[in-house]
């Protein structure tokens, strides 16, 4: 079996599959297990210790994974996955290609668990391409893994707990937060309280973050969002303005100008679906699961035989639910490969599903705060860059939609939006939102086609080292 991703879902899947006697290979592009949420700190940070959040969770995960017997391949960035056509009986069904240290490798398996996590959802804003504007995920990597502050005076913007947590990390690291801004009205949070009441632990942690921000004098603006980012060659000011419940700007309302040298911004998480797309698994657009997510049965099976989904890539539920979905995916794979009999499968999966139900309700409540909202992208001026790779403007996309583009791939062909090296991972959501606001259904809009290589791969990594004399030339026919 191959597991792609060594975050909390992939690690749990690898451990459970190894326990079932499967031979497991884990691929992850990071240098250690933990995923984004439990990311291991850089080596130079290790001796200093200090206030890193949840170090025990990450350390426990890394120890369990290291001891489970699975083969672990870190620093391996997967750039292709395909189904093998002759996958009958015991011959492998899947081929996965990864690049490690500028060399490409291939691995084969009977079963494949995808635990590739999420990509962050971004809505373009005037000036958001200025250096110093970074994603919330980027901020957490900087702070947790690298011990680097995003700036001297930082504005943090986003719906839901991720923005609050980022602000807390900045304070922990000794930084200064000029403002936190959540486009949701405060009542969007209070509405969730009944659903959160039975999750005392996370609720208390959230309360502690709010208290820490209040003590540091950090203002939190609910129902506000970024109108523009300004600066000559990097961020110097952030303009905030009021928004309605759909995150649409309230015209003519008050604005605030905040001096800052960094802006951390993100509008929620979406499942990373490129591998499911490559492998032909059915996907469905479900805002509560973070947008496009794989169609699954109750035991994490995709519509492609032998393919399983785990963690947030299977639908955003957060870190607490990730080990549960990972375990269920591994049990299903073990069952389908004949390594678990029916009775013990049903027994074990029942336990795992009941445990998951307990934690999943918290994750879906939080996901509700950060559901995609097309109105948040639709208002930006024509002069705003939507596609950062290709410098494509909102006005050019609107022009192509007016000229007849109704699907996201038609929009891409007409404008180059999503054609750059990020493969549309940064701009795809915004491009889809512009189409949605023009009146098209997400099912019609579709997803940007996933194609290998999923990440830029140097040609030399694929060709390897060979000499001219290694090239087979057919002998010329004697004449």
């Amino acid at each position: 079996m191959i597991v792609i991703g060594a975050g909390p879902a992939g690690a749990a899947a690898a451990v459970a599959a190894s326990e079932c006697g499967l031979s497991v290979l884990v691929l992850d592009e990071a240098r250690a297990a933990g995923g984004r949420v439990y990311r291991a700190p850089d080596s130079w940070l290790e001796p200093s210790g200090g206030a890193r959040p949840a170090p025990t969770e990450g350390a426990k995960l890394r120890a369990a994974l290291a001891g489970c017997g699975a083969e672990l391949a870190f620093g391996h960035c997967v750039w292709h996955a395909s189904r093998l056509l002759d996958g009958a009986g015991d011959s492998p069904r899947f081929e996965v290609s990864a690049i490690a240290d500028q060399r490409s490798m291939r691995a084969h398996s009977l079963a494949l668990i995808i635990a590739s996590g999420t990509i962050e959802r971004f809505y373009p804003r005037p000036g958001w391409t200025l250096p110093g504007v970074i994603g919330l995920g980027a901020a957490s990597v900087m702070l947790k893994a690298n011990g680097v502050l995003p700036g001297k005076r930082v504005v943090v913007v986003g719906p839901g707990p991720l923005a609050l947590w980022t602000a807390k990390l900045i304070l922990d690291a000794g930084g200064s937060v000029a403002a936190v801004c959540d486009p949701n009205p405060r009542r969007a949070w209070t509405r969730l309280l009944p659903a959160l009441a039975r999750h005392a632990g996370p609720l208390a942690r959230g309360g502690a973050w709010l208290a820490q921000l209040a003590l540091a004098g950090v203002p939190i603006f609910y129902g506000w969002d970024v109108r523009a980012v300004q600066g000559a060659r990097q961020v110097e000011r952030v303009i905030l303005g009021r928004v309605d419940g759909e995150w649409r700007p309230l015209r003519g309302s008050e604005e605030k100008m905040i001096e800052a040298d960094a802006l951390c911004i993100g509008y929620g998480l979406a499942p990373a679906t490129d591998l499911y797309q490559l492998l032909g698994a059915a996907l469905r657009y479900e805002p509560i699961r973070g947008g496009w997510a794989p169609v699954l049965d109750r035991a994490q099976r995709c519509t492609t035989a032998g393919l399983y989904a785990a963690g947030d890539s299977a639908g955003v539920l957060g870190a607490a639910a990730a080990p549960g979905t990972g375990r269920i995916a591994a049990l299903s794979a073990a069952r389908d490969l004949g390594r678990l009999d029916d009775a013990s499968y049903r027994h074990r999966i029942g336990i795992a599903q009941r445990a998951l139900a307990g934690v999943a309700s918290f994750g879906s409540a939080m996901a509700r705060l950060a559901e995609p909202r097309c109105a948040a992208a639709a208002w930006v001026p024509d002069s705003t860059i939507v596609c950062r790779c290709e410098d494509v403007l909102a006005g050019e996309l609107r022009g192509a939609i007016a000229a007849g583009a109704q699907e996201i791939n038609a929009l891409k062909a007409a404008t180059r939006c999503g054609m750059g090296p990020c493969c549309g991972r940064v701009c795809g959501e915004a491009a889809g939102a512009l189409l949605e606001c023009a009146g098209f259904a997400r099912e019609r809009i579709g997803q940007l086609t996933a194609r290998a290589p999923l990440r830029p791969v140097p040609l030399s990594a694929l060709t390897g080292n060979f000499d001219y004399s290694d090239i087979p030339f057919p002998r010329a026919a004697d004449t």
Binding site: E29, R36, D42, S43, W44, L45, E46, P47, S48, G50, C77, I119, E120, T129, L130, P131, G132, V133, I134, G135, G137, A138, V141, M142, N146, G147, V148, L149, A173, G174, R233, Q234, I385, R388, C389, E390, D391, G420, P421, C422, R425, V426, R455, P456, P458
Partner: protein, 94 residues
């Protein structure tokens, strides 16, 4: 944050000497010393820098010893020659 007072690694960015810590990525080492702009965008030649920090967005791509690589996914090594990507060096239709 806190350094462990251990060894450092020197490399150059656009001819300027940068001191980093072993285990740091090129992107974080540059961010740490205040370098934000790493390249120029293809059409407008506007400054760009680190955005996702995890190898997805490709905004921090620089030329490292002659090869284009995301700075956030490349570890510092002594003597690396790192150059910003400039639009004018890419030709009219790169």
């Amino acid at each position: 944050m806190q350094a462990d007072g251990g060894a450092t690694i020197d490399f150059t960015f656009d001819g300027r000497r940068v001191t980093a810590r072993p285990g740091q990525s090129v992107a974080m080492a540059l961010w740490d010393v205040g370098v934000r702009a790493l390249r120029e965008s293809p059409r407008d030649a506007a400054p760009r820098g680190v955005f996702c920090a995890i190898g997805i967005c490709q905004e921090c791509v620089v030329v490292i010893d002659g090869v284009r690589r995301p700075a956030c996914m490349t570890l510092v090594r002594p003597g690396l020659n790192v150059l910003p990507v400039r639009t004018r060096s890419m030709g009219p239709d790169h």
